[in-house]
């Protein structure tokens, strides 16, 4: 069953974000857009998905020419009309996805896997979807202090056919307070004060696009995605899986700096970067 990927990068705040660069291990600079595409089509490896749709702001197509040339038909640029919000941005890929399930990655996150290339995380997510035959969102246990930044889910752990722990989602709250989280997002087996927060990657079942359509019509304006996913929970099974990696919110204050440091400290320049930090601290 072929799967497409939809990467959203159309929010006004993100307009310039994907054009920023990070230094890779080989000292080459790479745009964040390329990093995002590497997640699904890593160089020298089998692509994880059949093709990618990148949702960009209306009128920004020219800024992505290089990327388009590099990836050819594998990449489709989709312009979102007007700033209609996150759910609408995903919905903009409706024709691109057809009636198939699709992988969705948020464009303003940067990922590192605990081991190997970050595309391994995406591969695991897609495998989990195939195993469960239901929508799967990647999540990460996150301490409660970070709840103001993420959507979070509550549910019950189950074991998949391959022995992987998945969570059957029962509740979804967007940026909850710890008070609500404690009351409604309890997950057995998780450390106290930690909640399963969205990781920014999902594989959505074919039911999601029609649901978005329905809800966007009702909302008549910008709408968050998590509210709609709450509906999904009531309609069909919905799972979460913890992926062995780290996400960095590039839109947060010092988000890019943090991502760059994390990337550099994973590579051969680790010593050099550490020395640089020590020197800064010593000033």
């Amino acid at each position: 069953m072929p799967i497409s990927a939809v990467i959203t990068a159309a929010a006004p705040k993100q307009r310039h974000l994907l054009h920023q660069t990070l230094a890779k291990a080989d000292s080459q600079l790479e745009t964040l857009a390329q990093f995002a595409l590497d997640l699904v089509a890593p160089a020298g490896q089998e692509p994880v998905v059949e093709r990618v749709g990148l949702i960009i702001p209306e009128g920004d197509r020219d800024r992505y020419r290089d990327l388009e040339e590099r990836h050819g038909r594998y990449l489709t640029l989709i312009e979102q009309r007007g700033a209609q919000g996150y759910a609408q941005a995903v919905y903009a890929a409706r024709e691109f996805c057809g009636e198939q399930a699709f992988l969705h990655i948020v464009g303003d996150h940067f990922y590192l896997a605990n081991e190997g290339h970050a595309s391994g995380l995406v591969r695991t997510l897609v495998e989990t979807y195939r195993e469960q035959s239901a929508t799967v969102s990647a999540v990460q246990p996150t301490r409660e202090a970070l709840l103001p930044y993420f959507g979070a889910v509550g549910g019950t752990p189950e074991t998949s056919a391959s022995g992987r722990t998945v969570y059957r989602i029962e509740t979804i709250l967007e940026k909850p307070t710890p008070t609500e989280a404690e009351q409604r997002l309890f997950v057995p087996g998780l450390r106290g004060g930690h909640y399963l927060c969205y990781f920014g990657m999902h594989v959505f079942s074919p039911a999601v696009m029609p649901l978005l359509e329905e809800k966007l019509k009702e909302a008549r304006g910008p709408a968050p995605l998590s509210g709609m996913l709450e509906q999904l929970v009531r309609r069909e099974p919905y799972y979460a899986v913890i992926l062995p990696g780290t996400r960095f919110d590039l839109g947060a204050r010092y988000g890019i700096l943090q991502a760059q440091l994390a990337l550099a400290l994973r590579g051969p320049d680790r010593e050099e970067v550490l020395a640089m930090l020590v020197e800064l601290l010593g000033r």
Binding site: L147, P148, T177, T179, E180, Q183, G193
Partner: protein, 1074 residues
């Protein structure tokens, strides 16, 4: 069956403890105590542990103390451990002592106190633990650094100028029946099936105030353009900007404790931050997203005085918590009423807040958060939860279930009042908990009756049968409530009920106890046809009855009659925006003068525009603002002229006062100087020092009584400082207990005993009641027409502001009872405030900042006998009854003191001037003791004791009851009977003798009342001379009688009443009354 079976086997769970104990021998009791001790350490269930501890405490206090024969003293280390709340350690020390020397009354009394302390501490910990682990509260104990701070203000509060004001309005709650305090946490969590209340949310207004009833509690929240956390209490007129975490967790420093508790319990600054020494600025930055912004939280209570029994403080706390939780998104609805889940969260946080602020409330108290009439019931907990019931009860709003029109009919019948009394219900609640856990037979039966009555009440309410409801609430009050706790009722309330019955007859449907103790908030149900008339007349009835009891009962305020309405929405909020973004009129009246005094250029934009809005919105504020800006000339300190007049009238000696003040400020006298010098040897008395009491002496004693040779002096100059915590009532006149259906005050008891003795011996027995300026008038009025004679006090002193050194000595050097952790923190911070207060008021200066009666003080009971010389009472007595030779002099609170013929006979045989009654010391006996001082037995006052360790080495405690032979005592003063009419000689004799006894400096607590029933307690210094020091005079010969505890025990505090009733003392007194 064993006591441990009650704990181990469910079928015995409700067996009464007392039934088991009845008829048991000391050996059996000891064996059972050992088994319980083992059990309580191993018991898995917390409540079983607590019950075992209370069983142990009761075994020791009421059974083993009386049956132990040993003489072992209380080890001082154990006393210290109890005082520091190291109860386990104390138990270990006492059991070790008992293993060594065997049981003794003193050891058992210590064990009783330690077990009891541990039981209540364990219960309190359990509630704290349950509150902390309540889902939604836990994170607040994990968050301890601003980097982890997870709350953000809602955008609606930040996005526009002026910053919008979030305004919460909350009703208070009335309690239709608490099923005999079934809403105490401990009880509800152990006996959820019996924990049921009917709780009604109400709006109020003082009758005749003009405005209709409205929610009495309000809270406001808004963003301000200063990076501070501003807390304002409008009704207490207090305001402070918090800059640091430390200031926020300092609860006793100002009147903002409740607001601080709300800030913490709402999660705005979670508990985890306590002690972290961080600046609040970083938290405010995370909260508001900007470095220049802060928040303001304001509380306001409209027209309800303290002690209303309407749970005002808990509902205010809940209101504040709700407004903050809305503002920080912890509650989804920014405005309007709350959803059920959020109400429960707010209630749980209010319980948390009460724990944080060191106060305590019931399980139904935040009822105002819910709408209308609701049934609140205990909920059985899941197995293995640690308690049988859950922390939070279930609330079922009944409004939809009850007969249409029933609420209106209730409103049309009820007259709600505040009787004016404000009392600490803490001891009552402890008694209630204890009796429940012991399943005391009568009380357990009462509880069952209350549970049955509850169903009837509920059915009457559902059917809207208000007349039946009135009958039932009255039955509840007359029956189970008073069966369980006799002191929940009082003479004042009974008089009010009696007056209503007399005046309104059939039209008065019943009394409704609003919870806690009677005398504060109360309900009276009337036929709707006369309800309005009755409400009007109640004002007069309350006023007249209060006047009758004024001297005897602590009133905090003048009684109030309310207009009220059932609140059908519960707590709700609105967002005030734009031109409406203002707080209450009272708030702006309080804060605007401060803003007007600042130069306009220095005010922020936000404040300047606010002034404009205030002017526009509250045009009637101008006149009162002028009043505040330019207050009228006031006549200096409160009632200063009146005080001087009173001092003149009472014969105050300004020269002597001046000398005393100079000595005090120069530190020549003071608390630390009270003690005997270090070179004095103090030892316990030897066996031969105590008189061997001969029963045969009773014959001579009886003869003397029959011949009219003995009389009684009751010392009644005191105002029961410990009984009412400084409220200034006349101790002798406090109607403290009902014997045979009638309330008796302390004086009634003593006079009844004298009357009984007169009948028994067929002779006239003179009875003198000595009084002070504080008690003289009321006692004279009370005794008008009685055979008893009043001796008017002639000596007063003017209180002084204590020195900071004395306060520190009192609090840091002298032993102090530790409180539980949170209360201890509150007390420590309040004490720091008091030290600042004495420094600001000038140490050692006259205390004048109170009503005149609270500024002066009686000068110790030494003067009470000399006053009888000075005012001619003794001379009169001796003229009327020349054969009078002996006097029994005792304190008004030593209820067991009586004209015992054997003791009188022994006194006569001893030939001593004084025979002093002493009792074997037990835990809690603190003060004057019998000691050998430099080899001579005498009474040593507590104030003169060089250390507590010395005090606990002395076996006998002074009961303050003296048998006196008149002529030798007159001799000590250098007088003879025939000199008593020579005023000059008497005055000289008294002055000379006074100089021979030491005068002590003491620190007393005095209440200052303000606002609507608010009370502050201040320490004041005063001096006193004590009668016991007469035994130190060389020429005074004394004999020492060891008497039973029931005879020598003094009732100083309300908390002693329960033990007094249960150890048989009350029954013994009742027998004496004849």
């Amino acid at each position: 069956m064993k006591l441990t079976d009650i704990l181990r086997k469910p079928e015995y769970r409700d067996e009464p403890f007392d039934k088991w104990v009845r008829g048991k021998e000391m050996g059996e009791l000891e064996a059972e105590a050992d088994e319980l001790e083992q059990y309580r350490k191993e018991a898995g269930s917390l409540y079983d542990r607590v019950r075992a501890l209370l069983f142990l405490s009761n075994l020791h206090q009421y059974h083993m103390v009386a049956r132990s024969q040993g003489k072992a003293l209380l080890p001082y280390a154990a006393v210290e451990s109890i005082r520091s709340r190291h109860f386990e350690q104390a138990i270990g020390e006492l059991l070790e002592a008992r293993a060594g020397v065997g049981s003794s009354p003193a050891l058992s009394s210590g064990l009783a106190a330690a077990y009891r302390g541990l039981a209540f501490e364990t219960l309190a910990k359990q509630v704290r633990q349950s509150v902390r682990s309540f889902a939604g509260n836990q994170w607040m104990f994990r968050t301890g650094h601003w980097l982890d701070y997870p709350l953000r203000l809602r955008g609606e509060l930040l996005g526009e100028r002026p910053y919008p004001v979030l305004h919460e309005q909350t009703p208070v709650r009335m309690d239709l029946t608490h099923s005999a305090w079934s809403d105490i946490f401990f009880l509800a969590m152990d006996y959820p099936e019996g924990a049921r209340v009917i709780n009604i949310s109400v709006d109020l207004a003082s009758r005749g105030a003009g405005s209709g009833p409205r929610p009495p509690v309000e809270a406001f929240f808004r963003v301000i353009d200063e990076p501070v956390l501003r807390l304002v209490s409008v009704d207490l007129e207090a305001r402070a900007d918090m800059g640091t975490i430390e200031e926020l967790f300092d609860f006793g420093a100002d009147y903002l404790g409740l607001l601080k508790a709300a800030v913490i319990a709402s999660g705005l600054v979670p508990s985890g931050f306590e002690g972290s020494r961080q600046a609040l600025g970083e938290i405010l930055y995370r909260l508001t997203g900007s470095r220049g912004l802060g928040v303001e939280l304001v509380s306001q209570v409209n027209e309800i005085p303290k002690g209303s029994r309407l749970a005002v403080s808990t509902n205010l706390l809940a209101s504040l918590i709700a407004v903050v939780m809305r503002a920080t998104g912890q509650i989804r609805n920014l405005t309007g009423p709350l959803e059920e889940r959020d109400r429960r969260q707010v209630a749980a946080r209010a319980i948390l807040g009460e724990g944080v602020g060191g106060s305590g409330g019931g399980w139904q108290d935040s009822g105002g958060v819910w709408p209308g009439i609701k049934l609140i019931e205990g909920v059985p907990a899941a197995p293995g939860a640690g308690s049988r019931g859950e922390l939070l009860p279930r609330h079922t709003v009944l409004s939809g279930e009850i007969e249409p029109g029933a609420q209106e009919r209730l409103e049309a019948s009820l007259v709600l009042v505040h009787g004016g009394m404000s009392q600490d219900v803490g001891p009552i609640l402890e008694m209630c908990t204890e009796r429940y856990l012991l399943r005391s037979e009568k009380e357990w039966e009462g509880r069952r009756e209350a549970v049955e009555l509850f169903d009837e009440l509920l059915s009457a309410l559902r059917a809207g049968e208000i007349r039946r409801l009135g009958g039932l609430t009255q039955r509840n009050y007359d029956g189970p409530i008073q069966t369980i706790i006799p002191w929940a009722a009082n003479a004042y309330t009974e008089a009010l009920i009696g007056a209503c019955q007399e005046r309104f007859g059939e039209g008065f449907w019943g009394f409704w106890m609003l919870g806690g103790m009677a005398g504060g908030g109360m309900g009276f149900l009337f036929d709707p046809a006369i309800r309005d008339e009755a409400a009007g007349e109640m004002v007069g009835i309350l006023g007249r009855t209060k006047e009758r009891f004024e001297a005897a009962v602590p009133f905090a305020i003048h009684p109030v009659v309310y207009d009220f309405a059932i609140n059908r929405e519960g707590t709700k909020a609105e967002l005030k925006r734009g031109g409406e973004a203002l707080l209450s009129r009272k708030y702006h009246l309080m804060t605007t003068p401060g803003l007007l005094r600042v130069e306009a250029a220095r005010l922020s934009e936000e404040r300047r525009t606010e002034l404009g809005r205030v002017a526009q919105h509250y045009p009637d504020l101008t006149a009162p603002l002028f009043e505040r800006l330019f207050p009228r000339e006031s006549g200096g300190e409160e009632g200063s002229g009146e005080l001087d007049e009173l001092l003149r009238e009472l014969g105050f000696d300004p020269q002597a006062h001046e000398r005393l003040r100079a000595d005090y400020t120069a530190n020549r006298i003071g608390l630390a100087k009270n003690i005997l010098p270090a070179n004095v040897t103090i030892e316990d008395v030897r066996p031969g020092d105590l008189a061997r009491l001969r029963p045969e002496a009773a014959v001579a004693g009886a003869r003397a009584l029959a011949e009219g040779r003995a009389g009684v002096i009751t010392l009644a100059g005191g105002v029961g400082s410990r009984w009412t915590k400084g409220a200034g009532t006349v101790k002798a006149l406090i109607p403290f207990h009902r014997f045979g259906g009638r309330y008796y005050n302390f004086l009634d008891v003593h006079l009844a005993k004298t009357r009984a003795a007169e009948q028994r011996y067929g002779a006239r027995i003179p009875h003198v009641v000595t009084t002070s300026y504080l008690t003289g008038g009321p006692i004279e009025r009370y005794l008008a027409g009685s055979a008893a004679r009043v001796s008017r006090g002639r000596s007063i002193g003017l209180r002084l502001i204590p020195t900071a050194a004395d306060l520190r000595y009192l609090w840091e050097v002298l032993p102090q009872q530790q409180l539980d952790e949170q209360k201890q923190k509150v007390r420590a911070s309040a004490r720091q405030g008091l030290v600042r207060w004495v420094e600001a008021m000038r140490e050692g200066s006259d205390y004048r900042a109170n009503v005149p009666r609270q500024c002066i003080h009686p000068v110790g009971h030494w003067y009470e006998f000399p006053n009888m010389l000075l005012n001619g009472v003794l001379a009169d007595l001796l003229e009327e009854q020349p054969q009078l030779e002996y006097l029994l002099l005792h304190n008004v609170d030593t209820l067991g003191a009586s004209l015992d013929e054997a003791l009188l006979g022994n006194h006569m045989e001893s030939g001593a001037t004084f025979s002093v009654e002493v009792v074997l010391k037990q835990f809690g006996d603190h003060g004057g003791s019998l000691a050998r001082v430099n080899g001579r037995p005498r009474l040593l006052e507590g104030l003169a004791m060089p250390g507590e360790e010395v005090e606990f080495g002395l076996r006998h405690y002074n009961s303050s009851t003296y048998w006196i032979t008149i002529d030798p005592l007159l001799g000590v003063f250098g007088l003879r009977r025939q000199d008593l009419r020579d005023g000059v000689a008497v005055e000289e004799a008294v002055r000379r003798t006074a100089q021979r006894v030491p005068s002590y400096i003491t620190i007393k607590e005095v209440k200052k009342r303000w606002g609507r029933g608010q009370e502050d307690i201040y320490p004041v210094a005063q001096f006193e001379r004590l009668w016991g020091d007469m035994t130190a005079l060389e020429e005074v010969s004394s004999a020492w009688f060891e008497v039973p505890r029931q005879r020598g025990q003094q009732l100083k505090e309300v908390g002693q009443l329960d033990a007094w009733l249960r150890d048989g003392s009350a029954a013994a007194i009742e027998k004496m009354l004849g």
